[in-house]
Amino acid sequence: MSVDIIELLLPFKAEYVSIARLTVSGIASRVGFDIDTVEDIKVAVAEVCNRIVNIGSKLSQHYKINFAISERSLKVLFTCEDKSIKCIFNNEDAELAVSIIRALMDDVEFCTDGNYILSMTKSVGENK
């Protein structure tokens, strides 16, 4: 099964989070999600971007969103050259964002051992 990759490099600035929202909406539509699920994925992606932007980085100018598109699913990976950005949802003030992300996506890996900040997946036909 082939996987197409699209990458988006964004500055740590709040005004560019909307670009991530627009991009993932287009990609999720292309995968074949219905309009409500596209909205869910958009909200979940924006929550992660918000958190990354709020935490910020002194070592890196950008963070990267990697969209892995397969026939029936979309996997979204968030990475940054600044490896100190890792467990970004551990604080109590992230509670609302965590509950939103968990509810809207099928599979979410927070605080991973992998080379990324967070991974989330949504599959067609597995709406929560």
Partner: protein, 105 residues
Amino acid sequence: MSGELNIKEENLGNSIEVYLDGEVDIYTSQKLKDKLYGIIDENQSDLKINCRDLSYIDSTGLGIFVGALKKAKQNGKNIYISELKENIKKLFMITGLDKLFIIEE
């Protein structure tokens, strides 16, 4: 580049109604916070937030609603939220905020 947020306010006598139009995200949320907190500080009235034209809100915006509610309750007042779109109502339910706020159709 980011979504727009327009906020209008109407004094109904015993309450203040605020109309949100556009998107509340990390970029526009400070504007919402300043407006809601300002209204609560300056008025001894309940606050009604009309979301008929609110197309998007994230946890930053929801957090501001919660902060505003705490502030209003300290003054013995309440916040009513009305005309939520389905996608936004879903976020209130996911986060449990539907039980915290008085939500009107």
